[in-house]
């Protein structure tokens, strides 16, 4: 069937009428089907960031240790001893709803390629996941598929999955979030970029063959879901982790030679975006001969090949006299290798197929005249302070209920399906410390890695929520003893054409930017996922909670100094940071009173920095034997988590705080840590000198958690309550 190129087809491809008119102006004629396809994916929200770019530019991206910030395939930071860490987080939300296993698996595959395309061996994966109401069968189906997909891909490629986070909320019912993060390691003088150079140099295609999967995937990710979402299953790609493993090894082997001029993975919008970006960044033209593209099925058109999102493919520009060296390496790894074009001086992308020119587009206007929108936004209204609340349950009954609730229950069922030890460098496995700790082989260096976001805070007050997400990530890295270095952000929001959603987005970025500046924690890479909404049967659209997921990384110069969160025997347990008893938007309020209201806890960035810098220095001085940051569930949940992690108990003192017990024990005040120390008086004296609030709250020992009331809960009973949720949910 031959499609007629017109305004209506352009809109079917996701372009507005104004955008289509601009295409016709740039071309000076009617575009061909292939050309329209190229414009529509390059100008999709997913590839062009047309609604978000204006605001992303406000984020801080520089620091002395930043080697490459946003604009490359992933962010690059200097971690010392000549090494660089390369990392990024990216969403695969829409595909994961439609086809959870493949959606999540290819999400992992895509982010791995973003990292190894820069010359890094991937050394850690993490995942930030948000699911809908756990009570619905569809949510359980999605959890099952997503977890199997992440494991199926990550386990096979041999990259340990070392951390992540999971939240539940009905706002994700029709739109789960799958945000995958990869961290890689490279020599800092061996980093590969995507800007093509050298007119006449060959353009080489390696990896899997091109098929008809994923056509217009980037466009799908740039629109709301409706009741016909399932009809879009053909736009979901299918992953092959074995091929990815071969591609990693072959690319790294080739990168050890001097053959590569530029390299770029084929991700969203496949051959189109990789060719356009490489040539565009290099200021050269590119000519592709699609007859040479390795194809999985016969009869594919130029339009289909240019828009296919088949997985596990890379595009490279090689030095002409090195193509045979490269070919031999890819033959060794049994991967397709084809010279499919060359660089030109025309400044155009020219696509030929079967002797015909199927596309001939000037690259500069394709990039420079891409739409950019300053969309109308309404400023979010911050909720009124929470009034007086009553506490219906005893402290012990409350604690048991909270640690078994969906957002706080043990995630062991999930991470026990992910290989977390392959590579032999995992110093702290999931759940053993506030951040995962992965050693750099043959050095004393280690990376501390985390993902964080509290969507219910972001929903109530996007600016505070944005700042809190960054602050919590910084705190989690600090709590291991590591020095926080940089952030990758994965901004998941609803439809930006709605002023209230755009308002959430702008406010969240503002909060993130404030926190990143205050904590010297620049954003070096990221991804924006908009239109996370699902059309309801009544015609209204339900948006997700605003979810600016933060992935972050820090470095330990001496891995031996890292601490975990497991309670250590015979120690004083000291609370660092100030407690006012903030119950607005707390887990306590939601799980015990069934309310989701009030403002989130305020984020005092000066206190965050001061308290965190003090705690980190104490860890590095060797005075702290365990450390845990306080977040969801507050102080008593944090104590219980420390007890459960090691099986060592703790006797809590009764607080002399002037705060109601439920607020003292379950309030979610920020900038706080629990530490195990030998000498509480000395520690608190040093804290006072540094202007950091600190108070003794208990003594560790035995196997029980003993509450101030004298009520005793064994560590074993806590563990049973903590671990029941996931297995019970998933075996229904």
């Amino acid at each position: 069937m031959k499609k007629t190129v017109d305004d209506s087809l352009a809109r079917e491809f996701g372009l507005t009428s104004e955008e289509y008119a601009r295409v016709v102006t740039i071309m000076g004629r009617m575009p061909s089907l292939t050309e329209l396809g190229v414009f529509s994916v390059m100008w999709s929200e997913h590839c062009s960031y047309k609604s978000s770019r204006k605001w992303l530019r406000t984020l801080p991206t520089k620091a002395p240790w930043v080697i490459h910030g946003p604009g490359e395939n992933a962010g690059v930071v200097d971690i010392g001893l000549g090494y660089a860490a390369i990392f990024k987080m990216e969403s695969h939300n829409h595909p994961s709803f439609i086809e959870p296993y493949q959606g999540a698996a290819t999400g992992v595959g895509g982010i791995l390629r973003d990292v190894f395309t820069m010359g890094a061996r991937p050394i850690a994966n993490l995942n930030a996941l948000r699911f809908g109401n756990p009570e619905t069968p569809r949510t359980r189906q999605i959890i099952d598929g997503v977890v199997r997909g992440i494991g199926g891909y990550g386990n096979c490629v041999g990259v340990p999955t070392v951390g992540g986070e999971i939240n539940f909320h009905p706002a994700y019912d029709g739109n789960p979030l799958v945000n995958a993060m990869t961290v890689g390691l490279a020599r800092k003088d061996r980093i590969f970029l995507s800007a093509a150079a050298g007119v006449g140099n060959p353009v080489v295609y390696v990896g899997s063959r091109t098929g008809r999967d994923g056509i217009h995937g980037a466009t799908m990710s740039s629109a709301e879901f409706d009741e016909n979402a399932m009809a879009k299953r053909p736009t979901v790609q299918v992953g092959d982790p074995f091929i990815e493993k071969l591609l990693i090894e072959a690319c790294l082997e080739l990168m050890a030679t001097d053959a590569i001029v530029a390299i770029q993975d084929m991700g969203a919008a496949g051959l189109t975006s990789s060719a356009v970006e490489m040539a565009g960044k290099g200021g050269v033209g590119i000519e592709l001969d699609l007859d040479a593209v390795p194809q999985r099925e016969p009869g594919m058109t130029a339009y289909e090949m240019m828009l296919s999102e088949s997985q596990e493919r890379m595009l490279m520009v090689l030095k002409p006299d090195r193509t045979e060296v490269a070919r031999k390496i890819f033959e060794k790894w049994e991967l397709d290798f084809a010279i499919i074009g060359h660089l030109t001086e025309t400044g155009h992308i020219v696509v030929k197929h079967k002797g015909q020119v199927e596309a001939d587009i000037p690259l500069d206007p394709l990039a420079d005249q891409a739409p950019i929108y300053d969309r109308p936004a309404t400023t979010p209204v911050v909720p009124e302070p929470l009034g007086p609340v009553h506490a219906p349950l005893s402290l012990d009954a409350t604690l048991i209920k909270l640690i078994g609730s969906p957002d706080l229950a043990s995630r062991a069922w999930v991470w026990n399906q992910y290989d977390s030890t392959v590579g032999g460098q995992t110093v702290r496995r999931p759940g053993a410390a506030d951040a995962a700790i992965v050693k750099i082989e043959d050095t004393s260096l280690a990376l501390a890695i985390t993902t964080d976001c509290t969507p219910r805070y972001c929903h109530a007050d996007p600016k505070t929520g944005g700042a809190q997400a960054v602050a919590e990530a910084w705190r989690n890295i600090t709590a291991t003893g590591a020095r926080p270095l940089a952030v990758t952000d994965n901004l998941n929001f609803g439809n930006p054409e709605k002023p209230e959603i755009m308002g959430q987005f702008i406010a969240a970025i503002e909060g993130m930017g404030d926190a990143c500046r205050a904590l010297d924690f620049p954003v070096v890479s990221g991804n924006v996922s908009l239109y996370n909404e699902t059309r309801q049967p009544d015609g209204s659209a339900m948006a997700i909670l605003p979810t600016p997921a933060i992935g972050a990384l820090g470095v330990l110069n001496d891995v031996e100094k890292a601490v975990g969160l497991g309670m250590q025997d015979g120690k004083a347990v000291v609370l660092v940071g100030e407690t006012h008893g903030e119950l607005g938007q707390s887990i306590w309020l939601r799980e015990i009173l069934g309310r989701e209201d009030g403002p989130p806890p305020p984020v005092d960035l000066v206190a965050e920095k001061r308290n965190g810098d003090f705690v980190r220095q104490e860890i590095l001085n060797g005075t702290v034997s365990a450390c845990h940051d306080l977040s969801d569930g507050g102080l008593m949940v944090a104590v219980a988590e420390m007890v459960m992690a090691s099986g060592v108990g703790c006797e809590l003192e009764s607080p002399d705080s002037g705060i109601r017990p439920e607020a003292f024990w379950f309030g979610e005040d920020q900038a706080r840590y629990l530490v195990c120390v030998d000498n509480a008086a000395d520690f608190c004296a040093r804290a006072e000198k540094a202007g950091v609030p600190a108070r003794l709250i208990g003594q560790s020992g035995g196997n029980d958690l003993i509450l101030p009331s004298g009520v005793t809960i064994s560590a074993a009973r806590l563990v049973v309550a903590h671990e029941a949720f996931f297995p019970a949910l998933m075996t229904r």
Partner: protein, 233 residues
Amino acid sequence: MKAAIVVFPGTNRERDMAIALRRVTGHEPRMVWHRETDLTGIDLVVLAGGFSYGDYLRCGAMAAHSPIMTEIRSFAHKGGHILGVCNGFQILTETGLLPGALLRNANLRFLSQDCHLRVERADTPFTHKWKKGDVFRTPMAHGDGNYTADQSTLDRLEGEGLVAFRYATAQGVVQADDSASNLNGSVNSIAGILSENSRICGMMPHPEDLVDPLMGGVDGLPLFEGLVEALVR
């Protein structure tokens, strides 16, 4: 001891194994690409974990037909020592160098967590640093670790004492209902077996991932220390 680690395209625990071997021998083992055919001068061949050929068919089935496997068969027939861990164990059963087969885990999910192994034989090159009945902790990470064999093979394995390790509780108990300790559902709680001459050992868990206090313990180290002592020349 000169050790060689065979690397198939999808092998992914060769670094872990190399680190463990280097720790006890003081030098890097030789990495042998699966298309090579020379094992001259090698005392120990190791088949490491991973997904040798993607393992979309049966785990290890395609690797069993790789060029290096002819050489490994001949190495075995000459009395060479072979350790197969995880995918390596699967390859050894597919090759017929060890009996039985490894099925999908009983719960049909990938299992990645610590388990406890009870040492059933302490008079082999792989196990002599332990005493019979000793228990050690080790990580496992597999989707297909559910060991099975026909009844006559099982009778022979048990009768001739060819079971090297069994999944057990931390106290070393192998219960009749072993679902809490034998997570993949292996018959008779079998975690590792030996060839008749005790020179080939296949096991599912990963002792090579627990050889450094920094990574959580050294419970796996005796296996490698034992091999170095036994294969000293």
